[in-house]
């Protein structure tokens, strides 16, 4: 497993903080998820209920089982997993699929990196906390997906189905192309990035 350096924005003082990006999910990372994310997620549910947040607006990855996902993906050559660790805390996880192809007409049937799952620690979510600990996890993972795509010869093409609360992020901040909601994926909106959009994202971020 390789670790490389990434930077996250610490909300409390606006400082950029060094973190480690791992290109795999180890048993140690999954244990961290179980020990630290799950209790925080469970604590958040009563707060969401008390605040009368409609269930459709809850972070929908609250109940994802990363142990199961990791067990499934670890034996497959076409799956890649990543996580970000800062000061011993697990700040985000991502799983990407390398055997999917593009849907945008201009790059239809070409290979891309499809982001199957991406999730940030409960303490980094504005929906769950007044002041999240870090910003920028999502952007780091978009960059990682683009770099993986380039590394594989896919020229930066990436795609994903976005959870409703993240649509604006992929639309405006990442400038990805938006396709129609996908009835085969519970109506989630599908976003795709072209090589030109990927280059622009890397230049701007």
């Amino acid at each position: 497993m390789e670790a490389s350096e990434v930077y996250l924005l610490r909300v409390v003082d606006g400082q950029m903080v060094r973190a480690e990006l791992f290109d795999d999910l180890s048993e140690q990372h999954i244990t961290l998820w179980q020990r630290t994310w799950l209790p925080a997620m469970q604590e958040a549910i009563p707060r969401l209920v008390a605040a009368k947040v409609p269930q459709a607006d809850w972070p929908q990855d609250l109940l994802w089982d990363w142990r199961k996902k990791t067990n499934w993906a670890s034996s497959l050559l076409g799956m890649r997993s990543f996580c970000i660790v800062c000061a011993g805390n697990l700040e985000g996880m991502m799983m990407a699929n390398l055997i999917k192809t593009c849907r945008l007409e201009e790059q239809r049937h070409k290979e891309l990196v499809y982001v199957e799952f991406v999730s940030t620690a409960p303490w980094n979510r504005a929906k769950l906390l007044v002041k999240p600990r870090f910003h920028g996890i999502g952007k780091v993972f978009v960059r990682v997906a683009i770099e993986l795509s380039m590394h594989e010869g896919f020229e930066g093409r990436i795609g994903l189905h976005s959870l409703p609360q993240a649509n604006e992020f992929y639309r405006s901040r990442c400038q990805m192309s938006e396709l129609a909601p996908d009835p085969k994926k519970e109506g989630l909106v599908y976003f795709e990035m072209t090589p030109e959009q990927a280059t622009r994202f890397l230049e701007d971020n």
Partner: protein
């Protein structure tokens, strides 16, 4: 990114196989090595699902389904 040790092998292909590889390489804008990597990833995934007893179908625009038989 994925700096794993790589192994080298010599691959002997017939003319037809090489032509198919070159066509895919051109069509997909991928190197021949990348095409073979993709093929291996896809084959492994299909084989794993077939071993679990799952069926694999192709569907056309008319929603006609054809099962891919793996023998």
């Amino acid at each position: 990114m994925e700096n794993q040790d790589k192994k080298t092998m010599t691959l002997n292909l017939t003319q037809a196989e090489m032509r198919a590889l070159e066509e895919l390489s051109a069509l997909k804008d991928l190197s021949k090595t990348a095409v073979l990597r993709q093929a291996l990833r896809l084959y492994q995934m299909i084989d794993q699902r077939a071993r679990r007893g799952e069926k694999i179908y192709f569907e056309n625009d008319a929603k006609d389904k054809a099962e891919l038989m793996l023998i």
